[in-house]
C-alpha cells in the first residue's frame, strides 16, 4: 500500500480519510485500503464487478464492513449508521426524490439535520445558485436534463457539508455530448471541495480528468495506484493497459532482452534483470504482408488478424499468434495490406518504442 505516496497525502496526521475496507459476501471478497487528505480527489478505477461500488457503499455505511477500519478526520466511523456519517453520496442515477422539487431535494439533507425549514431552503437555493441552476429550483427531477440532474444531486450531497464526498460513476448516465461539459463543471466543483472526494468509474478518461490519485481495483483488490500520468505510463495489469491503449506483457528480463512465458522475446532499450513489464502503444506496431527483410526493427513476429475495428480515424487490428498484439494503422494502410480477419501478417516494433520497467 503506497497510499501516502502522492504529494498532498502527507498532510497533518488524522485529517482526511484512512480506511481499510474489507467486505465479504458469498464468494466475493473486497479488501481495499484507501488514504486521502482533505482536498484530494481519489478515483477508484476498475472493470465492472471489481468491487468499486461495494467499496463506495462501505464508505457510506450502506454495506457493513466485515473487517478493517474507517477513520475520517480521526473519527472511527466503522460502526456509525449511514445517517450519522458526515458523508455525501452522488449516486450513479442520482436518485433525486421524484416527488420533491430540485430545491426541496437539496434542502432535504439540512432539514434532516434539524435546520429550520426556511433556513434549509435558503441554503438549498444558494447551492443551486452556485451550480447555475437557480432557474430550475422549482422543477421536479423528471423535468431536468441529465446534466442538470447531476448538478442537483451534487448540490444535494454537498448541502450536508460532508467531510467525505462519494460519487458513483458520476458521468455514466450522460450521453457523450453533455458528458464533456458536465465533466468540466464537475472537475471545477471538485477542485473547490475542501474535504476528501472519492469517485468510482470504469472510464479512465473520467478518472484522469477528475482525480489526482487513481486506485485501480480488480477482483476486489488494489492492483495499482498512483497519479494518472504514472499509471498511464506504467500499467501493471492488462485491464489498465487496454484502457490506456497499450500492449502490455510480463516477462523475465536479461539485459536488453525480455523473454515471455510463451517463448517470444522482445528487445528493449532498457537494461534490466528479473521480472519486468514491457509496454508499447499500438501505434508503434508496423504491419507487413511479407516477412520484411530490410527492416531495422529488432522485434518481429508472425501474427494472424483476429479482428478489426475503427478507432477514430484509425483502424485497430487485434492480432493473435506468438504474441497477442493490438496495432493501429491508417485506413489506407489497412486497405493496401488487404487486412481481413484470418490474414497472416508480420508485425515489427522498434526497440526504442518499447518501454520496460520492473514488475
Amino acid at each position: 500500500m503506497t497510499g501516502t505516496g502522492h504529494e498532498s497525502g502527507s498532510s497533518r496526521a488524522g485529517e482526511g480519510l484512512d480506511a481499510r475496507l474489507v467486505v465479504e459476501r458469498d464468494a466475493f471478497r473486497l479488501d481495499v485500503a484507501l488514504r486521502a487528505a482533505p482536498g484530494d480527489v481519489v478515483a477508484l478505477l476498475g472493470p465492472n464487478g471489481a468491487g468499486k461500488t461495494t467499496a463506495l457503499r462501505a464508505l457510506a455505511g450502506l454495506v457493513p464492513l466485515s473487517a478493517g477500519h474507517l477513520l475520517l478526520d480521526g473519527a472511527d466511523l466503522a460502526r456509525t449508521p449511514p445517517e450519522a456519517r458526515p458523508v455525501g453520496v452522488v449516486f450513479q442515477d442520482y436518485l433525486l426524490f421524484p416527488h420533491l422539487s430540485a430545491l426541496d431535494n437539496v434542502a432535504f439533507g439540512p432539514r434532516c439535520r434539524k435546520v429550520p425549514k426556511a433556513a434549509a431552503r435558503a441554503q438549498a437555493a444558494a447551492w443551486l445558485e452556485r451550480m447555475g441552476l437557480a432557474a430550475h429550483a422549482a422543477s421536479r427531477p423528471r423535468r431536468l436534463s441529465g446534466g442538470q440532474a447531476q448538478r442537483v444531486a451534487l448540490a444535494r450531497a454537498l448541502a450536508t457539508r460532508p467531510r467525505l464526498l462519494l460519487l458513483d460513476e458520476p458521468l455514466a448516465a450522460l450521453d457523450a455530448r453533455t458528458r464533456l461539459d458536465v465533466r468540466a463543471r464537475l472537475r471545477h466543483h471538485l477542485a473547490d471541495f475542501e474535504a476528501v472526494a472519492v469517485l468510482v468509474t470504469h472510464d479512465p478518461l473520467d478518472a484522469m480528468v477528475l482525480a489526482d490519485h487513481l486506485v485501480v481495483i480488480e477482483d476486489g483488490r488494489v492492483v495499482q495506484e498512483g497519479g494518472p500520468a504514472d499509471i498511464a505510463r506504467h500499467p501493471r495489469s492488462d485491464y489498465i493497459a487496454r484502457l490506456v491503449g497499450l500492449n502490455l506483457y510480463k516477462g523475465e528480463a536479461d539485459g536488453h532482452t525480455v523473454r515471455f512465458d510463451g517463448g517470444p522475446v522482445v528487445t528493449t532499450t532498457e537494461e534490466l534483470t528479473g521480472p519486468v513489464f514491457v509496454a508499447f502503444p499500438p501505434g508503434a506496431v508496423t504491419l507487413h504482408r511479407e516477412r520484411p527483410t530490410g527492416s531495422s526493427a529488432r522485434n518481429l513476429w508472425r501474427c494472424e488478424v483476429a479482428g478489426l475495428e475503427t478507432h477514430g480515424d484509425q483502424i485497430r487490428a487485434a492480432l493473435t499468434g506468438e504474441l497477442p498484439l493490438a496495432a493501429d494503422l491508417t485506413t489506407i494502410a489497412a486497405a493496401e495490406l488487404d487486412l481481413r480477419p484470418g490474414a497472416t501478417v508480420w508485425a515489427t516494433v522498434k526497440a526504442a518504442q518499447t518501454h520496460a520497467y520492473p514488475a
Binding site: G61, E83, L95, C112
Partner: protein, 297 residues
C-alpha cells in the same frame, strides 16, 4: 380489477399496440378476410369463452336494472331504515379502512423491507383472511374478542369494553376481512419501489422513520390509495364476518348487505332497490378513481 385494462383491440390503438398489429399483419393476410371479421385474428376458441365471460359478469347487473321497481323507488329509498343502513355501511367501511391503513401500511413495510425470521410465515398468516370464508372469520373473532373470548374477557374485565354486537364490532369484522387486501397491495408497491431512495435519504441524514415518512410514503402513495380503495370496497360489501360477529341490529350493526339479505326475504322489491344503491356506490367509486389510480398502477 386493479391494473387490469380490458381493451378492444379495434379501438384507438396505442404505440405498443400498433407495433403488435404490424407484426400481426402477415398472419392476417394469410387467414384471409374471415379472420378480419372475427375481431382481428382472435381465434374462436379464445373469443367465444371470452364473450361468455363478459355476458356472465354483465347480465346479472343488467337484470337488476331491468327488474328494478323504478316507480316505487322513491319511497323505498327514502325510508329511514335504508338511510340508516347506508350511513352505517359508509361509516363502518371508512373506519375499517382507516384502521387498516394505520396498522396495515407499517405491516406492509415490515414485510417488504425488513428481513426477520419467520417473515414468510407472518405473510402467510396475514393473507389468510383473504382466502378464509368470512363466516369462519366471524366465528374466530367471537372466540378472540367475544365476551368470553380469549382477549374479549380481559377487555370486558379491565376496560368494560365489549365488541360483539356493537357498531365497533362491525368495524372490527370489516377490518379483519379487508386489511389483507391493503397489506398485499401496499407490500407489492413497496417491493416495486426502488429501496435505494431510502438509502439516498439515509446518506442525507434521514433516520429510517424519516426516510419512510418523507420519501417512501409519498413514492408509494398511489399504491396505498389503490389498496385503501380495495379494502374499502371489500369492507362495504362485507357480510359473513359482520353478521356472525356483530349480528344484525338495525341502526347499530345492520349494514347495507345485511339489510339487502333481510329485505329479500320479506320485500324483494326493497332488496333490489338497496342493491341498486350499492351498485351505484361501487360504480361511482370505480369511475371516480379509474383515471387517477387504477390505470396508473
Amino acid at each position: 380489477m386493479i391494473g387490469v385494462r380490458v381493451r378492444d383491440r379495434n379501438s384507438a390503438p396505442e404505440g405498443v399496440e400498433e407495433a403488435g398489429m404490424e407484426k400481426d399483419a402477415p398472419a392476417l393476410r394469410a387467414t384471409g378476410r374471415r379472420g378480419l371479421r372475427l375481431g382481428r385474428g382472435a381465434p374462436l376458441p379464445l373469443l367465444v369463452p371470452a364473450l361468455i365471460g363478459v355476458a356472465f359478469l354483465v347480465l346479472p347487473l343488467a337484470a337488476l336494472l331491468v327488474r328494478a321497481p323504478w316507480r316505487s323507488m322513491p319511497e323505498l329509498l327514502t325510508s329511514t331504515e335504508v338511510w340508516e343502513a347506508l350511513r352505517l355501511s359508509l361509516v363502518c367501511a371508512t373506519a375499517a379502512t382507516a384502521v387498516s391503513l394505520v396498522v396495515g401500511v407499517p405491516l406492509a413495510w415490515l414485510l417488504a423491507r425488513v428481513e426477520f425470521p419467520g417473515r414468510r410465515l407472518v405473510r402467510a398468516l396475514v393473507t389468510l383472511p383473504l382466502v378464509l370464508p368470512p363466516v369462519v372469520g366471524g366465528v374466530a373473532l367471537l372466540m378472540a374478542l367475544g365476551r368470553n373470548g380469549v382477549v374479549g374477557r380481559l377487555l370486558d374485565d379491565w376496560f368494560g369494553v365489549t365488541l360483539p354486537f356493537t357498531t365497533a364490532g362491525v368495524v372490527v369484522a370489516e377490518a379483519f376481512v379487508a386489511m389483507p387486501f391493503l397489506v398485499i397491495s401496499v407490500e407489492g408497491t413497496l417491493r416495486a419501489a426502488d429501496p435505494r431512495y431510502e438509502e439516498a435519504a439515509a446518506t442525507l441524514g434521514a433516520s429510517r422513520f424519516t426516510a419512510f415518512r418523507r420519501v417512501t410514503l409519498p413514492l408509494v402513495a398511489p399504491g396505498i390509495a389503490a389498496g385503501a380503495v380495495l379494502a374499502w370496497a371489500r369492507a362495504l360489501g362485507e357480510f359473513g364476518a359482520t353478521i356472525t360477529f356483530a349480528g344484525n341490529l338495525p341502526g347499530r350493526t345492520q349494514t347495507m348487505p345485511l339489510a339487502v339479505y333481510l329485505a329479500l326475504q320479506n320485500e324483494p322489491e326493497a332488496a333490489i332497490a338497496l342493491s341498486l344503491v350499492l351498485l351505484a356506490v361501487s360504480v361511482a367509486v370505480l369511475a371516480g378513481l379509474r383515471d387517477r389510480w387504477m390505470t396508473a398502477s
